[in-house]
């Protein structure tokens, strides 16, 4: 069963629609869009719809001085990650986890055969998929670890 999970194609996962932005969009607009969508990353597109970069909450921490005046007016292209690590839609769940670990990232843009972004796969998507396939191990748990049964009960 684990092998089946590892080879699950990304096209079979419930990938969430990513937040999108243009390179010239300001950081204040992009961060508000991310907050409203409940997402931690945004795909930045070129004028012809191809992937120009990705901006994540991690980039916000690393590259933006939130104490400085006017940071919100900066165009997102100045702080985004250009040429991010990506995956093709034909890749597997195992490929996704391996690539995220190798590059120390938590989400990857997914591209179609024409190199256009069609979604975003995150570590959370992978964990949710695994949990849903093993509900008895990952979903049907006691509220706290301390409440787990340590032996057999009953008559």
């Amino acid at each position: 069963m684990l092998t089946v999970l590892a080879t699950t194609q990304l096209s079979d996962l419930r990938l969430r629609q990513p937040v999108l932005a243009q390179q010239s969009d300001s950081l204040s607009v992009v961060t508000q869009r991310m907050r409203d969508a409940g997402r931690g990353s945004t795909l930045i597109l070129t004028d012809d719809g191809r992937l120009a970069g990705i901006f994540t909450q991690r980039d916000l921490i690393k590259r933006v001085d939130l104490c400085s005046k006017g940071w919100g007016d900066l165009p997102v292209c100045e702080v985004m990650t250009k040429k991010p690590v990506v995956l093709g839609i034909g890749a597997s769940l195992g490929d996704a986890l391996e690539r995220m670990d190798a590059h120390s990232v938590r989400s990857l843009p997914v591209l179609d055969d024409e190199q256009r972004p069609v979604g975003l796969v995150s570590v959370r998507d992978a964990l949710r998929h695994i949990a849903e396939h093993f509900p008895q191990d990952f979903i049907n748990l006691p509220p706290e670890p301390s409440l787990e049964a340590t032996g057999l009960y009953g008559g």
Binding site: A6, I61, C67, L93, D101
Partner: protein
């Protein structure tokens, strides 16, 4: 499933990222930036865990609101009484909290309620990546194969 199971204490490495609840959010951001952690555990004057402040909190409650982190205290935006785990707890709980309930960072506490580590979603992803990679390795443990027995033809 036993291939995935392990104690979360195995992921406790390096200094624990903590910040006082009375410090400015900018101090927490500096710790996240320098340590590489995606969150900081907020502690009181006795070192007890009081909350957690994450990158997502900085995005949603500071940046998107246009608030200056130098003038906002950690206690003002942290998540109080976060879900936590102990070192002996199984990673299945972490996968549940992260994959199903949406938490990306879990403080690990000792029996006194003091932080001993911070489990991030990347730690869990690295573990699963290793488990899946091991599945692809051929089983070379069978060295005592039975002798070939010729039973002849029919």
């Amino acid at each position: 499933m036993h291939e995935i199971q392990c104690s979360v204490g195995a992921f406790v490495t390096g200094p624990v990222p903590t910040v006082s609840t009375t410090e400015a959010v900018s101090a927490a951001i500096k710790i996240m930036k320098e340590s590489g952690h995606a969150a900081v555990i907020a502690v009181d004057e006795e070192g007890l865990c009081q909350g957690i402040l994450t990158e997502r909190d900085v995005l949603n409650r500071i940046a998107a609101e246009g608030i200056n982190p130098c003038s906002q205290r950690v206690s003002g935006i942290m998540t109080r009484a976060p879900l936590t785990l102990n070192a002996d707890d199984c990673i299945t709980y972490a996968i549940n909290h992260m994959g199903v309930r949406g938490f990306s960072n879990l403080p690990l506490l000792d029996e006194t309620g003091r932080p001993i580590g911070l489990l991030g979603i990347k730690d869990v992803a690295r573990h699963l990546s290793g488990v899946f990679a091991d599945l692809e390795q051929p089983d070379t443990s069978m060295t005592d194969l039975p002798e070939w027995i010729d039973v002849g033809g029919g």
